[in-house]
């Protein structure tokens, strides 16, 4: 057990004794990481913040459910967040008949850009990746969010997902292959160009990046 893991476990012990300072410290330590996971999974700041809130309410209500022999506090918190995320996706599917859609949330405010050249390209690249990650099936998106974006060890990801490490590796490999395909630059198709009608269609004036952004989620979230 690392020093940080032990400190986290001690904080949860203090939660069991009703220590508010321990609750605040736990939130300070892990709130931002859970928010990032929520953002990568839901692509909505509101949903991501609700997930963080619900995760901490859950551990406040039932600190006794954390069992240090089964994993770290980080894995436990991410496990709760993941469970909440699945529930939200199920509700979205049930109520609207479709999975969560890509929101308008942007990671970088375009108005803040001082250099409209390289910086704009960088922002577009990030948005393309964000869209591509969000369009992955949920099981694949989870491993990308945990292992690639959050850089958690495979063992921790396996503990969060409740699967063997080998499954984490294979899902990550598959997810990266899917991402590489989706992010590959579009090859120009001469035949298509020749047959292109003179009248423009909605969105046609958009470049490849913007067109990708306009797509709604096709990934399965259930």
């Amino acid at each position: 057990m690392t020093a940080l893991t032990a400190e986290d476990a001690e904080l949860v012990s203090r939660l069991r004794r009703g220590d508010a300072a321990a609750a605040r410290e736990l939130y300070q330590r892990h709130g931002a990481a859970l928010l990032r996971f929520g953002l990568a999974m839901s692509n909505s700041r509101q949903t991501a913040e609700d997930i963080v809130h619900d995760t901490f309410i859950e551990i406040l209500k039932h600190p006794i459910r954390f069992d240090p022999s089964r994993g770290s506090v980080v894995a436990y918190l991410f496990g709760i967040a993941r469970h909440r995320m699945s529930r939200i996706a199920r509700i979205s599917m049930r109520d609207s008949g479709k999975p969560l859609e890509l929101s308008e949330h942007e990671l970088v405010d375009l108005d803040d850009l001082t250099d409209a050249g390289d910086e704009l390209d960088r922002v577009r690249d990030i948005e393309r990746v964000r869209t591509a990650v969000f369009e992955l099936p949920r099981a694949h998106r989870e491993v990308v969010a945990l292992c690639d974006l959050e850089e958690l060890p495979y063992a921790t990801a396996a503990s969060i997902l409740g699967v063997p490490i080998g499954t984490v590796r294979s899902r990550l490999s598959r997810a990266r292959a899917l991402l590489a395909t989706r992010l590959a630059p579009a090859e120009p198709n001469i035949e298509d160009d020749e047959e292109e009608p003179a009248v423009s269609r909605p969105g046609e004036e958009l470049g490849v990046d913007e067109a990708a952004l306009s797509l709604s989620c096709r990934g399965s979230l259930t």
Binding site: G18, A23, A32, R36, E49, V52, K61, R128, R176, A184
Partner: protein, 68 residues
């Protein structure tokens, strides 16, 4: 390296994901979320205190009854 990917594709993807990860790391919980959590913690701590007081009172009552 991932399946069906060559080394340069893998490197390019890693770079792209690193940039996305870096952008995500700039994201912080909003002041509104901080306030929501603070209110929840304060209310939870108060409930914990009153629960503990109840337990102490209850124990005290039983001890008094036994003594009598």
């Amino acid at each position: 390296m991932s399946m069906d990917m060559n080394e340069s594709q893998d490197r390019a993807l890693t770079r792209a994901l690193d940039e996305y990860s870096e952008a995500l790391r700039a994201e912080r919980p909003s002041a509104e979320l901080d306030l929501r959590l603070e209110a929840a913690i304060t209310s939870w701590a108060a409930a914990q205190r009153s629960q503990r007081c109840g337990v102490v009172l209850c124990r005290g009552s039983w001890q008094l009854l036994l003594w009598l």
